[in-house]
């Protein structure tokens, strides 16, 4: 039925309908909330909230919040060659973006050079191709790394990419101590949902911990990990599971670091987190407030944090790509705006807003500019930044915050019974949650129980499919990249490079922190593929067991 709305019986139910009214995570919602719904008295509530910047940080990590400093506007970008991505970076900064965020192509994420046979037709497609420290140097040409904060979405090869970045900074005359930014470096969520793993879980966690340990010594202003539930959420699970899984991962990394003799109070202040913000506005705000309180509890009760900064959760919010539709793509602008607003009301430290064309292509320049403008309009025109935690004290939001915290704690307990995040992963427990939830969501869309405007309600059957330009940005990139990497390989002192790779392999095998040897290898011109192969030789590769 072209252009038709939902039949009355299909419409989201008004109060009093037969179906229970629930949030996206299945939490029942009452017609109205009053003071009677606040657990305990006003003093109990005050203790659960604290003031912004004070334990338990429910209301925000900083006292002045956005009055002191706006969130970082960090649009994710990267495609084609280092030069192409460099041009997009200059463009975004010119439009008022305040930091950079690099997307890497799949061969780089998985440790293959551009000329590897498995890299066929994948070079520069979903991100920029980086083979060497020279490529990294080109990527940041004209961008002073002591001034601009950079986020790297990289995990299995995170230590290697960090090494090439340190070399690129060194060539600009910038010392590690001056670098700001974030390395994603959360390998557990790769096994869980994003699937760009290479080595088995044990050595993978060890590499992640090597980075965090190294950073705690030489990168005082840099976040060496961004512990994330975003990808599990995008792959299907709900907000409560997202929070529980994120905390389970955080505990696993902290346990590993503490087992090396590191002090929690010393490394924990630089841990950062990454959550999705989807369209269930109040549930999302509540989830992010609950995340701060839950982390405070874990940090103090489980790990004995003394320094407030060690128990203060800071997070990056990514808008949800799965909420976007390829049908009626301009509707995605409105969806993204609401998600960005949710992240701001929840007190995010940095935000990425999806491009409206992102459901089907690398966002166009027009789309990324609009995403940035969305953030700027919310920051400058709406007044929502004037006071910290503007939804704090709302009967409904406080009820949801309490409810999500307790439900996420139950998830954590279930994961603990399996021996923690790694044990649960090995049993396939969270993977099953994710797959089952994704299937359920799809069935609900089909049945019209989950309205999606332009898809199952108010659909336009005659709408032409948009013409996409997937190939345009990457035409000829692979050939140029392969030629350049081969030239660079033949120009280097191959004996010296081979020696650095031999030492790298030795350090990997002997449980030494691999970072110093990686920096040496990157400096000597070793490629991302060669350094990854050194690890493959020691650790082997992981294959996922069947989900069924």
């Amino acid at each position: 039925m072209t252009g038709a709305g939902p039949k009355t019986s299909d419409a989201p139910e008004a109060d009093g309908g037969a179906r229970a009214v629930i949030t996206d995570s299945g939490i029942p919602v009452a017609p109205v909330y009053t003071a009677a719904d606040v657990v305990g008295g006003p003093d109990d509530l005050a203790a659960r909230l604290g003031r912004p910047g004070e334990p338990p940080f429910t209301r925000g990590p900083y006292a002045s919040m956005y009055r002191g400093q706006l969130w970082t506007m960090r649009q994710f970008a990267g495609y084609g060659s280092p030069e192409q991505t460099n041009a997009r970076f200059h463009f975004l900064l010119g439009q008022g973006q305040t930091a950079l965020s690099v997307a890497f192509d799949l061969p780089t994420q998985l440790g293959y050079d551009s000329d590897h046979e498995l890299a066929r037709d994948e070079v520069g497609r979903v991100g920029v191709a980086i083979d060497t420290a020279d490529d990294m140097t080109d990527l940041f040409a004209g961008l002073p790394l002591d001034k601009v904060s950079v986020n790297f979405t990289i995990n299995a090869t995170a230590p290697i990419i960090l090494a090439t970045y340190l070399v690129a900074a060194e060539r600009q005359g910038v010392s590690p101590a001056e670098l700001t930014g974030t390395l994603q470096n959360d390998i557990l969520k790769e096994f869980l949902a994003r699937k760009a793993y290479v080595y088995p879980p044990g050595p993978s966690i060890r590499l992640a911990a090597d980075v965090i340990e190294y950073a705690s010594q030489v990168l005082p202003r840099f976040n060496p990990i961004s512990i994330t539930g975003y990808h599990a959420r995008e792959a299907g699970c709900d907000a409560v599971q997202e929070l529980g899984l994120t905390m389970a991962s955080a505990i696993a990394y902290c346990d590993e670091l503490i087992s090396r003799g590191l002090e929690f109070d010393r490394f924990a202040p630089r841990l950062s987190f990454h959550f999705a913000t989807t369209l269930d506005l109040f549930e999302e705000v509540a989830k992010l407030r609950a995340a701060r309180r839950l982390w405070y509890r874990i940090a103090t009760e489980r790990f004995g944090a003394v320094a407030p900064a060690a128990a203060r959760l800071r997070f990056f919010s990514g808008n949800s790509g799965t909420t976007l539709t390829s049908q009626q793509p301009l509707n995605n602008v409105i969806r993204s705006t609401i998600q960005c607003l949710g992240a701001v009301l929840a007190g995010a430290q940095s935000i990425h807003v999806m491009g409206y064309d992102e459901a089907h292509q690398i966002p166009s320049e027009e789309a990324v500019t609009l995403s940035l403008r969305t953030q700027q309009i919310i920051a400058l025109e709406t007044g929502v930044t004037r006071t910290a935690d503007p939804l704090g004290g709302s009967y409904f939001v406080e009820h949801l915050t309490d409810e999500i915290e307790s439900r996420a704690s139950a998830i954590l307990a279930e994961i603990a019974e399996c021996g923690g995040a790694v044990g649960a992963l090995e049993r396939g427990l969270p993977q099953r949650w994710i797959t089952d939830a994704a299937y359920r969501a799809e069935q609900e869309v089909t049945a019209g129980l989950r309205p999606k405007v332009g898809v199952n309600v108010y659909a336009d059957d005659d709408e032409p499919r948009p013409e996409l330009a997937l190939d345009e940005p990457v035409r000829g990139v692979a050939e140029r990249q392969i030629t350049r990497t081969r030239q660079r390989k033949s120009a280097r002192d191959s004996l010296a490079t081979a020696e650095t790779l031999r030492i790298l392999e030795q350090h990997a095998a002997r449980q030494h922190n691999v970072m110093p040897a990686l920096v040496e290898a990157a400096r000597a011109g070793a490629t991302v593929g060669e350094m990854s192969d050194a690890f493959r030789a020691v650790f082997g590769e992981f294959r996922e067991p069947s989900p069924w």
Binding site: D121, V126, A196, H360, Y439, Q443, L468, L470, E544
Partner: protein
């Protein structure tokens, strides 16, 4: 008539497996036997499985944009194995490429945003037409 036997796989380096798993579950609930080979499987491995399992249909999902080269390789591998089964492709496939894929010999294309019931119905129909050939 036996249950249609369908091989699903994700060739290439892309790890977005939400779509293919949802399709696998939909096909199972509709009565098909589904063998999911997982991530990063090569064209040769998929063709070998199709031949060994006497599959009625092979389905792949690619969301990285590398679908043209991947489909080409897989069709060649299936021919080498004399596995004459329909190949269907899902993922972020522009309309122009969908036509090109069909010209190459791909039996059906399901771009992102395709409705699950329609995908399941069409895949089953194509698999059954193979299964009914003696």
């Amino acid at each position: 008539m036996r249950r249609p036997r369908i091989i699903l796989a994700k060739p290439g380096l892309d790890g977005h497996d939400r779509g293919i798993k949802v399709v696998a579950m939909g096909l199972r609930d509709a009565g098909a036997e589904v063998i999911y080979l997982g991530l990063r499987v090569s064209a040769r491995q998929i063709a070998a499985a199709a031949a060994a399992e006497d599959a009625d249909l092979v389905g792949i999902s690619v969301l990285s944009g590398a679908h043209m080269a991947i489909a080409e390789d897989l069709l060649a591998a299936l021919r080498d194995r004399r596995a004459y089964v329909p190949l269907v492709v899902g993922g972020t496939i522009p309309a122009r490429d969908a036509d090109a894929l069909r010209e190459l010999g791909v039996s059906a294309v399901f771009p992102a945003g395709s409705a699950l019931p329609a995908v399941v119905a069409e895949v089953l129909e194509r698999a059954r037409s193979t299964a009914s050939v003696p």
